[in-house]
């Protein structure tokens, strides 16, 4: 799984990228401020067989520009906007270079990721209007929701344009939770990135912890033993099962059948207590380290078997209710073409029939099978989670009973940079580290939520307003992982 790196002249970038996106997925664009020049790395992934290609373009530090790839890839356009906000690098030819994470109160020329940028800029007044697209016509009205909600959820603002109860357009305004977490990682020792990575999104501690660990190991040439690999892959599946069960309950809860939610939470609670025995932390923090990884207790096959049975019962209870099925089926459809065009990843992509799963394309262990659904509605995303939870429980049972899957080993030739690709429960997380003098010079995080947020708005077209919570829950995207 070695990374192929190509230095590319700015003028050749679009041509090379156009060739690559035919076969590869643009996983992230990472800019590096190296003082006298800026380095922009375009990471493309494909598999199986595992292939990772990086195009590197240099940009001038004073007036940094790169050619925009927004014309050939939708995700590229969003990565470029984030890069423009963070570094002030202008993607030349970008069709809609609006701020993404750039906060309205920041000075326009403040780019927090540049060297020497102060951690606390002088805040001005937020006088830039957020460009919500106004939909006009007879009977069209707007519903603004959030960022403060009636329930305890993360902050996000949603602007609905509605006729009657039918949604014509929904524009999310996110970016209320920026912590500058990537910048916090700079200057640390590589192993000290773990505590930050496990807090990128609280529900994905293993996903991000493992992804940054893989990146660090590739950058330093560290190797983990077989037991460490077993612990890592088991924890990744345990996290997947736990979060999928919570989501199964939460989706059904939004139809009002709260008994399923209550029981799902009870099952998840048992898994979290089991996780606390394995790692010392309910959210599975602290067990994975660069070069290592260990469990404090053995895996528990009878527990996984029992949970699998209980989940099946729970799903029966939910799907035997015709009203629940009526609410889930045909709601908030994300078509395969849209999903592909938007570069969607994870559960959401597979529920729309897109066969992307980093566990298969960038495997850490053998024995993982991928499943997809075709219909792309809330029902498909529900079924996808049920299926994946059961698959993961079966894997855990096998591993707990001593059947050891092959571990895919790295053949590292450390160059100070490293890439970590992990399929978490939500989707593919990509971490990239750049080391310099034993310290972290740049740490970049791409949460699957960043790729999937635009798809929610697309899936909502022609859905009715009271079904929004159901659609939103079936995506279950992270705000903190998106905003960093």
């Amino acid at each position: 799984m070695s990374r192929r790196v190509f230095e590319v002249a700015a003028g050749d970038l679009v041509a090379r990228a156009t060739e690559l996106v035919a076969t590869h997925r643009l996983a992230t664009i990472v800019a590096h401020d190296e003082g006298e020049r800026l380095r922009v790395v375009y990471t493309f992934l494909a598999g199986p067989p595992d292939d990772r290609v990086e195009l590197v373009v240099a940009a001038d530090a004073d007036r940094p520009t790169v050619p925009s790839l927004a014309g050939i890839s939708f995700p590229a356009g969003r990565f470029e906007r984030a890069m423009h906000d963070g570094f002030g690098i202008e993607p030349v030819g970008h069709p809609a270079l609006r701020p993404l994470s750039h906060h309205g109160h920041w000075p326009p020329d403040y780019h927090p990721m540049r060297r020497g940028a102060p951690a606390h800029p002088v805040l001005g007044s937020d006088d830039r209007a957020y460009p919500f697209t106004a939909v006009e016509g007879p009977g069209v009205y707007e519903i603004p929701v959030g960022p403060v909600h009636a329930g305890l959820i993360e902050p996000g603002h949603f602007r609905f344009s509605v006729v009657g109860e039918t949604i014509l357009k929904m524009t999310p305004r996110l970016w209320f939770v920026q912590r500058g977490i990537e910048r916090l990682g700079e200057g640390r020792r590589p192993e000290d990135l773990l505590e930050l990575a496990e807090r990128v999104s609280g529900d994905s501690a293993v996903t991000h912890g493992l992804a940054v660990t893989l990146a660090i190991e590739e950058a330093t040439g560290q190797r983990a033993g077989r037991d460490a690999w077993r612990a890592r892959t088991a924890l990744l599946e345990l996290e997947r099962v736990t979060r999928h069960i919570v989501d199964i309950g939460a989706i059904v809860n939004d139809t009002g059948l709260s008994v399923v939610h209550a029981r799902a939470l009870a099952l998840a609670e048992r898994l979290q207590r089991h996780g606390a025995e394995l790692t010392g932390h309910r959210l599975l923090r602290g067990a994975i380290t660069p070069g290592g990884g260990a469990l404090r207790a053995p895996l528990d096959a009878p527990l996984y078997r029992e949970i699998a049975e209980r989940v099946a019962d729970l799903v029966d209870l939910a799907t035997s209710n015709t009203v629940v099925i009526d609410r889930l089926a045909g709601t908030a459809v994300l078509g395969a073409d849209d999903a592909r065009r938007l570069g969607v990843v994870g559960v959401v992509a597979r529920a729309s029939g897109i066969a992307v799963d980093a566990r298969v394309s960038h495997p850490l262990t053998s024995g993982v099978t991928m499943r997809t659904s075709a219909s792309g509605d809330v029902r498909a995303r529900f079924d996808q989670r049920v299926g994946e939870a059961q698959d993961s429980l079966a894997l855990l049972v096998r591993w707990a009973e001593g059947d050891v899957s092959d571990v895919v080993d790295a053949d590292a030739s450390p160059d100070g940079d490293g890439l970590g690709v992990v399929e978490g429960w939500r989707g593919t997380a990509v971490h990239r580290v750049s080391l310099s003098g034993g310290q972290v010079a740049r740490w970049s995080v791409t949460d699957p939520s960043f790729c999937n947020w635009p798809a929610l708005a697309v899936a909502l077209r022609h859905t009715i307003v009271p079904d929004f919570p159901l659609a939103n829950k079936s995506f279950n995207l992270s705000y903190a992982g998106n905003d960093l």
């Binding site: 009205y141 707007e142 519903i143 603004p144 929701v145 909600h149 009636a150 329930g151 109860e165 059904v252 939004d254 139809t255 009002g256 059948l257 709260s258 008994v259 209550a262 029981r263 009870a266 209710n321 009203v323 629940v324 009526d326 609410r327 009715i464 307003v465 009271p466 079904d467 929004f468 919570p469």
Partner: protein, 312 residues
């Protein structure tokens, strides 16, 4: 004099009972789902707590300010009028079924106007949904009441109920059972329970009743909550009394009144527990399917009238 006492007694009983029944239903649901749930007295305590607080209102909130009063007064008058504990209330034979329906409707209208007055998207959205459902529920409610009125030949509640007490066999007539069923569905819709509205949701976009009251706080919220609870208590008691009028005090002796009060409490409690248990296994209908449910209630009620008229 005694009639006034009966009415007063009923208003207090409906207010207290409504709050306790709300708490009881939450408790039953929680226990059936394997949760502990809040204590039954929780709604009572919340109202008591908020009564002592000031009410934050929107700047243009004059309409918002009178809504709780209108809701509370109309519901209280209805609760005093309907024979629940004793046959003779302050309204006498003038305690007409139509008057009760329109009193309740006035409360609904006030609540919807209050939702609009706050000038937020949710208030308007909740008001529009509530009115759309109300327009479908009211005809079913009127026709169901008419079905109960057919045997007595009068829409006056005391006359209807006295007829029922004197001819208990009528209680198992098809017309009576169908009318009770239609009224049951309407009560679920009018009190905002599953599968029409979800009383335990915190998702702004799916709400109906809650959306209209999101902008209320302090004493205003306490009064709106109390009004909604009274509505629940009144409708359950009315349904219980119309379906099974036994136990209604025909004399004005304190003993008979106490017995009537206890029995109507038992009937309402049974109904509340049944609704809560049904809710445990119910999901909320897609909003556009709710009219089908209410249309079914209307058809059942019409059938009850038809069968009743034919049997007469």
């Amino acid at each position: 004099m005694t009639r006034d006492v009966v009415s007063l007694l009923q208003v207090v009983a409906v207010a207290l009972g409504g709050l306790l029944l709300t708490g009881l239903m939450a408790k039953v649901r929680a226990r059936a789902e394997g949760r502990v749930g809040p204590p039954i007295t929780q709604p009572l305590r919340e109202v008591a707590k908020r009564l002592g607080r000031e009410s934050p209102r929107a700047t243009a909130g004059r309409a918002q300010g009178v809504v709780p009063t209108i809701l509370l007064v109309t519901t209280a008058v209805a609760a005093g009028l309907v024979p629940l504990a004793g046959l003779q209330t302050a309204g006498g034979a003038g305690a007409d079924a139509l008057v009760v329906v329109f009193l309740l409707l006035t409360g609904s209208l006030a609540l919807a106007a209050g939702g609009l007055a706050t000038a937020t998207a949710f208030g308007g959205m909740g008001a529009s949904r509530a009115m759309a459902l109300s327009a479908l529920a009211e005809p079913a409610l009127l026709v169901a009441l008419a079905a109960f009125a057919v045997p007595a030949g009068s829409l006056s509640l005391p006359v209807m109920l006295r007829h029922g007490l004197n001819a208990p066999i009528a209680m198992v007539s098809p017309s009576h059972v169908l009318a009770a069923l239609a009224l049951f569905i309407v009560v679920i819709a009018e009190t905002g329970r599953l599968p029409v509205d979800n009383p335990s949701t915190h998702l702004e976009l799916t709400m109906i009743h809650e959306a209209m009251t999101l902008e209320y706080g302090g004493r205003d919220l306490a009064l709106v909550t109390l009004g909604a609870a009274m509505r629940l208590g009144l409708l359950l008691a009315l349904l219980g009394t119309l379906a099974v009028p036994w136990g209604l005090a025909t004399s004005s002796s304190p003993l008979a009144l106490a017995g009537g009060l206890i029995l109507v409490g038992v009937k309402s409690t049974v109904l509340a527990v049944v609704i809560a248990l049904v809710e445990v296994h119910s999901a909320k209908l897609r909003l556009f399917r709710v009219p089908e449910l209410l249309a079914a209630a209307f058809v059942v009620a019409s059938l009850a009238v038809l069968v009743g008229v034919v049997a007469r």
